[in-house]
Symmetry: C2
Subunit: 141 residues, 2 copies
């Protein structure tokens, strides 16, 4: 586990120190993994809680964690392979997730844990599928 699986890519991001307050990169239209802009939204997840499983059939996700620490677990169902990564300001990267991948994420930090998703299409409940946490065999701590 921990290797990149099909449908998932990880991209380094820069934090630029500034005396009055740092700048933290997110995503540019020219970046690998960017396809189109549909919507940007934040999602918080409390310490220990898990949101998922969800699989988008059309939306491509670009996930960044500016606040706290979040563990992402991706599951490639046809190949039965998992990928996991913990993102935070100390491991500041963009996680790009193509349609067709099952994703769940867990709050790791004791305080607020918040992701930004730069999604390729606007929210549309009809394009996403959900499964209960126990439907996919992953051992959450």
């Amino acid at each position: 586990m921990g290797n990149i699986i099909e449908g998932i890519s990880i991209h380094d991001l820069r934090i630029i120190p500034h005396p009055q307050g740092d700048i933290m990169h997110g995503i540019k239209s020219s970046d690998v993994g960017y396809s189109s802009f549909g919507e940007a939204y934040f999602s918080s997840v409390h310490h220990g809680e898990v949101k998922g499983w969800k699989m988008h059939t059309k939306m491509r996700l670009n996930l960044i964690v500016p606040i706290g620490e979040i563990k992402f677990v991706a599951y490639h169902e046809p190949k039965d392979t998992f990928f996991e990564i913990i993102l935070s300001r100390s491991n500041y990267k963009r996680l790009s997730v193509e349609p067709g991948i099952w994703l769940a994420f867990q709050g790791v930090g004791q305080n607020e844990n918040m992701l930004l998703n730069i999604a390729s299409i606007p929210h549309d409940p009809t394009e996403a599928e959900s499964k209960p946490l126990e439907a996919i065999n992953y051992q959450w701590q």
Copy 2:
């Protein structure tokens, strides 16, 4: 002061309560004020510090404050009019700024103050002009 000036618009945003962690809207491609996607980045500003003045000649800004509290001051130079607003999770709105408006912003919250800019073009230092704080006659507290 406090009225909307030419080149500035304010848009209500929803925070959707969720037992495992709230969802906070940002911007959709269909929203008023959205024109194109160039780049998303975060900018922090420490308590009492001011970043600005800066005027973009091409970039349209869409500013959201998910963390802390930030005061924005916009200056329409040809009409010599100001607009100011404090954004935070308790006044959760999107501030849309067209090219040609001078903008500065100040950290209001005691802890971290951070904005997200969904910019219409990628960062390009040649399209922005800067002025020192004292060059525009505004009384910062």
